[in-house]
């Protein structure tokens, strides 16, 4: 009987014991849906070529990603968060408070924001002012702000075609919308006296600007069919559907990688991801994953990510990012405050 008792106890203790040996093997990544396709592409390459477990990438949106990232320091929290915008100081503070003292910020490239339309149309050259006046909720008329009366492009600018204005753009929950408002609307409104030289970013809601998801098959169909409609999308979207749609020139610059990369194309933003340095030791493969992401093969001028729509950084910036990474140089609040 005694023997039996000891045996049972031993089994119980052993069973409990195995759990402590369990450590996480997969890299966990969360964050922006814009960075998601690039990150998952690298993750897949990482899994396939190294034989290590493929990182798990969840598309939570930038905000959701930063929330999860700053939820704690333990291994139940993600190692990396992707972001289509820079970390906010508020988010940075939260990280500091919770104990994520060392975070490396990595810029992987640019995402151009393209103004796309049906390929059958002739090329189109829009200025940011045109775009602002087309989608703003209010426009200055005779020095006063009134509800946007424009229904056709040529009412805004006689040089533009006499076609009705119809714009499919990102919804308020999207980072692309954020970038569009900042880079197009605010930049243009600051130069216009009608807006009192102030930033203006309110978008009209009378059905001319239609909020639509970024990866929506229905929107491609719409653009492919409706020759009048414009779509505001990330460059990768344009790239993937280049047989059906093309991008408008903005301020006379074509949305091609060279122009976006060099900064000539005015509507582009940087894409980021943030790594927890403390997790590098605990999660196998994490450093290698970042190494692979930063390799020339991926984000280089002719890298694989370029094929799926990432605009590579200029050479100097790439080197700078790599240096920052190899030194594991942590992000500081000063970095974020200085633009």
């Amino acid at each position: 009987m005694k023997k039996f008792l000891t045996l049972a106890l031993a089994i119980a203790v052993m069973a409990i014991g195995t759990l402590t040996a369990q450590a996480r093997e997969q890299i966990r990544i969360v964050g922006s849906s814009t960075v998601y396709p690039f990150a998952s592409y690298v993750a897949e390459e990482f899994g396939a070529t190294t034989g290590k477990p493929t990182p798990v990438i969840e598309s939570t949106g930038s905000g959701g990603g930063h929330k999860l990232f700053a939820a704690g320091t333990d291994l139940n929290t993600p190692d990396i968060t992707n972001s289509s915008r820079r970390m906010k100081t508020k988010e940075f503070d939260k990280n500091m408070a919770i104990g994520n003292k060392k975070i490396v910020e990595i810029v992987i490239g640019y995402d151009g924001i393209a103004i796309a339309f049906n390929k059958a149309n002739p090329d189109l050259n829009l200025t940011r002012k045109d775009l602002l006046l087309a989608v703003a909720a209010e426009v200055p008329v005779n020095g006063k702000l009134v509800a946007n009366p424009y229904k056709r492009w040529n009412e805004i600018n006689p040089a533009l075609p006499a076609k009705p204005i119809l714009v499919y753009g990102p919804p308020t929950s999207s980072g692309t919308r954020d970038a569009f408002e900042e880079l197009v609307m605010e930049k243009a409104s600051k130069k216009l006296a009608g807006y009192g030289k102030k930033k203006y970013s309110k978008i009209r809601q009378d059905g001319i600007y239609v909020p639509a998801g970024e990866n929506d098959n229905l929107i491609v169909q719409k653009l492919a069919k409706d020759k009048n409609a414009l779509g505001i999308f990330g460059y990768s979207f344009l790239e993937e559907n280049s047989d059906r749609i093309k991008g408008a020139m903005v301020d006379g610059v074509k949305p091609i990688p060279a122009n976006i990369s060099s900064g000539k194309y005015p509507v582009s933003r940087s894409l980021f991801f943030y790594v927890k340095v403390d997790h590098l030791k605990k999660v196998p493969g994490l450093a290698e994953y970042v190494d692979m992401f930063l390799s020339e093969q991926m984000i280089g001028t002719n890298g694989l990510l370029k094929d799926i729509g990432l605009i590579p950084l200029p050479d100097a910036d790439r080197t700078a990012v790599r240096t920052r990474w190899t030194k594991r140089q942590p992000l500081t609040k000063a970095d974020l405050e200085h633009k």
């Binding site: 897949e44 990866n215 979207f237």
Partner: protein
Amino acid sequence: MNKETRRLSIIKKRYRQENMFKFSAIFAIIIASSFLVFFLANISKTGYTAIQQTEILTEVTYNDATLKNTYRAVPRELSRLLSRGFLRLIPREVKANPELMGTTVTRWIVANAEVDQYMKEKPNRLKSKQIAIIEKLRAEGKIKKTLNTGFFYNGDSKLPEIAGILSAVVGTIYVMFLTMLFSVPIGVMTAVYLEEFAPDNWFTRTIEVNINNLAAIPSIIFGLLGLAIFINIFGVPRSSALAGGLTLALMTLPVIIITTRTALSSVPDNIRQGAQGVGASPWQVVWHHVLPLSLPGILTGSIIGLAQAMGETAPLLIVGMLAYIPEAPTGITDAATVLPAQIYTWSATSLRAYTERTALGIMVLLSVLLMLNAAAVMIRNKFERKW
């Protein structure tokens, strides 16, 4: 006589109405069935092409230059037509079989999605030069469509040509197992309590009203519950099979409780009285008589509840199962995805090569669900007892 003719005309009119009514009833059922036929035909038409996958016969050279840049392993004009899913594996292949080094092997290799789309006469982005190469290959018999077995043994991929459903299927199995593990015992126990033991008081009535209300709550709200309670409070890992399984279990619970109660209440009272008459305790009456007799009903209800949970997507999006998970999970706390979530992810991709795969994934999911439901119906018909 006048009255008589009037009556006759009324009768005629009434029969016309009768026929109209009958016709519209039949018409309704025809509409419903023809929708089903149209729907299934449409999905099959979209999806059947994904059963095949294009392969190209080519020479693969293994040498130092190859290892440096795997695109060099194949003839230059083909390097952009073959799947990167194969090319990037060359270094590992060589590592596993060092004797390959320095050799040249002729073999069939998966073509990339654009070539595949072209071969299936679907829209593609190939340039005319590339099309000429493919036509040449076709003339030489070096390009063919074969059975797309990869669809079933690959996980998700960013490369449509090698994307498959394995990880989603394994994830579904995990999630369903957990859903069953939590919802069936708790559901059956609740039903047994309410049907066999519960006194009629405010407490029991509250529970009953509660269960009815739970059954009507939109599934997405269960997702919010899972996010707030399981993930944020109890620290269950996001996008894990456990988080999904627990959430779906709560969602399935009312279904199982309600069907089990029906099954229990259909057992006639004289069986209970008979058992009590020979001195069985209340629990023994339930355990020895009522439960075994209502087992087919409970089983049917559980299967139907699980089939419902299996097709559910919305709550899983909220608990993070909408993720890129190419590898099958190996534990319940590993990140996992399920078939419906995989279908959703693919359907949101703008690459058109995914459309047919989405449809094929749907066909797989539908067949599984149909089989489950058929099993439930079979159990019901086979064991159903009329008292």
